[in-house]
């Protein structure tokens, strides 16, 4: 819900100018701890190829370096879109995020749900198991097989 909508609902007169408008639109995030696999959100959500584990690692690096939003696929199936990583707000081709691509991680941070997308601001990585989903024997190297 936008800040303007909130103001209207509250029956308040809102004067939203410049930075004030931005502050008015900001909402509080919720603290969260998530365990799952770091994924490429495009390949996973479109299913244009097999999108998980070692079979997809090279493609996941390409997509992250190309600036496609990196996600975390939680164990319960929820997909989180990473916007911030350990204090760094670089979310377009972040070198730090590329380092954990395809890894199984547990992270703590804040989540903002907006229009069906779960945006995740990671404060810290609690656990990093590396790549544990070994899928290449079944699916080869995605998408070109080499």
């Amino acid at each position: 819900m936008t800040g303007i909508r909130k103001c209207l609902l509250a029956g308040l007169v809102c004067v939203a100018l410049g930075a004030g408008a931005t502050v008015a639109q900001a909402a509080a995030g919720q603290r969260i701890k998530v365990t799952g696999e770091v994924i490429d959100s495009w390949c996973y959500l479109t299913e244009i190829m097999y999108p998980e584990g070692s079979a997809h690692h090279q493609c996941a690096l390409w997509c992250a370096a190309g600036g496609i939003p990196v996600g975390i696929l939680a164990d319960d199936g929820t997909v989180y879109t990473v916007l911030k990583f350990e204090g760094d707000s670089t979310s377009n081709a972040s070198p730090k995020v590329l380092e954990i691509q395809s890894h199984r991680v547990t992270v703590e941070g804040e989540v903002y749900a907006r229009d069906g997308i779960n945006y995740l601001l990671i404060d810290r990585v609690v656990d990093d198991r590396g790549i544990v989903k070994l899928t290449h024997d079944d699916y080869g190297i995605q998408p070109f097989g080499k």
């Binding site: 819900m1 199936g77 911030k84 979310s91 590329l98």
Partner: protein, 180 residues
């Protein structure tokens, strides 16, 4: 079916400019071809009020804020394996007409940008500026043959694969797998 979808997406990325300025189907799940007006925003800024200059100057994910308040996450562009930040960064805080595809799967709706122009009378841009921007960032001519297959030539990716392998499990795991 998956191979057809991959081929469609890759072919779209490799095609040169000059085609009609309207999105065409990629055969994605629950796909919708759309054209709408919106304001280009820094998604993190929109959510939290943390708003650096120029929408983060290309370092942050960008979104499209529609007039009804809906925030659309721009995930993809028209170039292979790349996102929409380079396509939208020039339009930070501006109103644009976005043309592309919504796809909905697993309960999530995301957007692939195919063409964009400034409101009201900007010139249509094909959403593949990533390639020329990548060339610029890497000191290459945009027509260099390395650019179309940028993903195989990206220094950051090459360094990670040289260290960890294509499977991410180490070079020995790659060697064994590729020998089989």
């Amino acid at each position: 079916m998956r191979h057809l979808m991959i081929a469609a997406v890759l072919a779209a990325g490799f095609l040169s400019a000059g085609a009609a300025r309207a999105a065409e189907s990629w055969g994605l799940p629950d796909e919708e071809i759309v054209r709408f007006e919106a304001k280009v925003v820094d998604v993190l800024c929109e959510l939290t009020g943390d708003c650096p200059a120029q929408c983060g100057a290309g370092k942050r994910q960008l979104g499209l804020l529609r007039d009804d308040g809906t925030l659309v996450l721009a995930v993809k562009n028209m170039a292979p394996f790349s996102g929409a930040v380079d396509e939208l960064a020039d339009f930070c805080a501006m109103r644009v007409v976005a043309d592309g595809l919504f796809t909905t799967n697993r309960g999530y709706t995301i957007f692939a940008l195919h063409f964009v122009k400034a409101v009201p009378d900007g010139k249509w841009r094909r959403a593949n500026r990533f390639l020329s921007k990548w060339a610029e960032r890497n000191g290459l001519d945009p027509k260099d043959k390395k650019v179309k297959r940028w993903f195989e030539n990206d220094p950051q990716v090459k360094a990670l694969i040289a260290r960890d392998g294509k499977l991410g499990l180490g070079l020995e795991a790659d060697r064994k797998f590729l020998e089989e």
